[in-house]
């Protein structure tokens, strides 16, 4: 599929999804919202981490930072759209800053330090709120209507998908994939690896931050354990890798599957659900390491060889 066709398909899908508030029940709409959020998070995570093979666990930090922007600007209530944009920009700026400092680390070290940074931000925010603001959480007064939130999250996720499409087709995407295949060789061939990595990392953080700001309004009460919840980060990584982090369609499909599974099973059988999730994850990594997307590849290969 050409880039233009893919973008048109994304826009068409977004258009169809934008009518859902008038078609679905409240419960189904809430579920769709969760799917959309994880789709945006997983696609933007895969945009950088899938291409470069850098395993970032900082998604929860970016998400939480974005969410907190909506409360820090509570002096004069910011328009919702501005808060979302600001949340994204703050997360991107933070990612650029830490990216410049830690993106020379590879492998497990990078994974550990991004996780550590996320926790550092969470504990710092908790401490700041307790010591200087005298609160543990904040209530968002006058949240926007559910339909507005839904459309905003849809918009951010759709832009994330389109950005991922454009980046894949661009020089930046090539550079990121080159870094993932062999960083030294890419550098020898003239790729400015440092710039490409920081830019890619900040870009993917932008969407996590914007989604955090957009979703914060829905929860109306936010505190560090909810918005910096490491589970959001883990879930994002799991969705992207189970779907196939080097593809675009993989994370999209698996975000729908995972969110539905989570919503249906977690409420009824909380422990059993997580046991199943763990088993599923182990089996997938062992026997389908390319993710769900590699199934499509296998199927095509078989058809062309039949």
């Amino acid at each position: 599929m050409k880039l233009r066709h893919s973008i048109l398909a994304t826009l068409a899908a977004a258009l169809v999804l934008s009518t859902m508030p008038w078609l679905l029940s409240d419960f189904a709409l809430a579920m769709t919202l969760t799917c959309l959020m994880y789709a945006g998070l997983a696609v933007s995570w895969a945009m950088f981490c899938g291409a470069t093979n850098y395993l970032s666990l900082a998604t929860a930090a970016f998400f939480g930072l974005g969410a907190y922007v909506t409360t820090w600007t509570s002096g004069g209530p910011l328009p919702y759209g501005v808060a979302v944009l600001l949340g994204g920009l703050l997360a991107a700026a933070f990612a650029g800053l830490i990216g410049a400092a830690v993106l020379h680390l590879r492998g497990a070290y990078f994974a550990v330090i991004t996780f550590g940074l996320g926790e550092l931000v969470r504990h710092a925010v908790t401490y700041y709120e307790k010591a200087f603001q005298g609160t543990v959480g904040r209530v968002i007064e006058e949240p926007p209507e559910a339909v507005t939130i839904y459309h905003t999250v849809l918009l951010v996720s759709a832009i994330a998908v389109i950005t991922a499409l454009v980046v894949r087709a661009s020089r930046l995407g090539l550079a990121l994939r080159g870094i993932g295949a062999d960083e030294e060789r890419a550098q020898t061939l003239g790729v400015n690896a440092r710039h490409a990595k920081i830019l890619g990392f900040a870009l993917s953080a932008f969407f996590a931050g914007a989604l955090g700001a957009a979703m914060a309004m829905r929860w109306t009460y936010i505190d560090p354990p909810t918005v910096f919840n490491p589970f959001i980060g883990f879930q994002t990584v799991l969705i992207a890798m189970v779907g196939g982090a080097h593809t675009l369609i993989g994370p999209l499909v698996s975000s729908v599957v995972f969110s539905l599974l989570t919503e249906f099973l977690r409420l009824q059988f909380p422990y059993l659900f997580l046991i199943l999730l763990g088993l599923l994850l182990i089996l997938l990594v062992l026997y389908l390491p390319g993710g769900l997307a590699s199934l499509i590849g296998r199927w095509r290969w078989r058809k062309s060889n039949a």
Partner: protein, 289 residues
């Protein structure tokens, strides 16, 4: 004076536990590049086994310690065979092993933690053991803490001795230095990998058994120790057991004194700040030459 002594001793006691947890993880990562994020879950299992032994069978936790170690060693070997063997065999590159083992670790974490939740429930459990206070040089200590410290340091030193002075220890050290080179001189990976993985899990179990004598236990207790172990490994640098022990003590002291001078709610903040500072300034470990 006695107060500072108590504080320092408290830091060392915490550090001793950290060291035991981190040593196991360090062995696994250094030797096989397996980033076992579910390490703390096996610590939790060790704690529950000891608790069961004490409350159901009325066995002294210290007597039960070898049983816990053996049981978790066996469990570790089985987990290696079922989960990690295939990854180390089929992955095309070291980085892929790290990423996939991290994911499998998450899977194990969900699995083990929630099986424990199903069986024992999410409540805190505990038993009291050797709770009388002891006077040493004007400072007062709970006996059980001193016992825990002695056993933690003992287990660590035992491991160090095995690594340094036995043939199998030499083989492990050789594999850490150069996996290919070690295989070329005839070191059997198929034997050594499961054994070392099992030893790592057994160490986690021992740490859990020791912790259960002092603190209350719950299915979620392992996770923070996994994170702490990662920090200790970064402090000490990969692949060195002795520096890992040093790193554990150091982190224990930093946490204890840091909390004393600031506030207890800053404990995790302090650990992470240390982790990030060290990773930025000396990514090869604090004591690297």
């Amino acid at each position: 004076m006695a107060y500072w002594f108590e504080l320092a001793a408290g830091g060392l006691i915490t550090g001793g536990i950290y060291a035991v947890v981190a040593l196991g993880l360090n062995l696994q990562y250094g030797l096989m590049r397996i980033m076992n994020i579910s390490h703390g879950e096996f610590l939790m299992l060790g704690a529950y086994l000891t608790w069961l032994g004490y409350t159901v069978l009325q066995v002294n936790p210290l007597v039960f310690l070898p049983v816990v170690a053996l049981a978790l060693f066996a469990l570790g070997v089985v987990v290696y065979w079922l989960c990690f063997q295939r990854i180390t065999r089929t992955a095309p590159a070291v980085e892929v092993i790290e990423a996939r083992s991290l994911l499998v670790g998450f899977g194990l974490m969900f699995l083990v933690q929630n099986v424990a939740n199903l069986i024992w429930g999410a409540d805190y459990r505990g038993y009291s053991f050797l709770t009388e206070a002891l006077d040493i040089g004007g400072a007062r200590f709970m006996t059980n803490r001193l016992v825990v410290f002695a056993f933690a340091v003992g287990a660590s030193l035992l491991l160090l001795a095995v690594l340094r002075w036995t043939l199998i220890g030499k083989a492990v050290r050789a594999m850490m230095q150069s996996p290919t080179g070690a295989q070329l001189v005839g070191i059997d990976t198929r034997f050594l990998h499961p054994v070392v993985f099992g030893v790592g899990i057994a160490l986690a179990g021992v740490a859990g058994a020791l912790l259960s004598m002092v603190y209350e236990i719950s299915p979620g207790m392992g996770e923070p120790y996994t994170v702490t172990a990662l920090i200790v490994i970064v402090l000490g640098g990969l692949g060195s057991a002795a520096r890992c022990l040093l790193g554990g003590f150091l982190l224990g002291l930093v946490e204890t004194f840091g909390m004393h001078f600031t506030s207890p709610s800053l404990k995790m903040l302090l650990s992470y700040a240390v982790l990030i500072a060290v990773l930025l300034a000396r990514p090869k470990g604090l004591f690297a030459r």
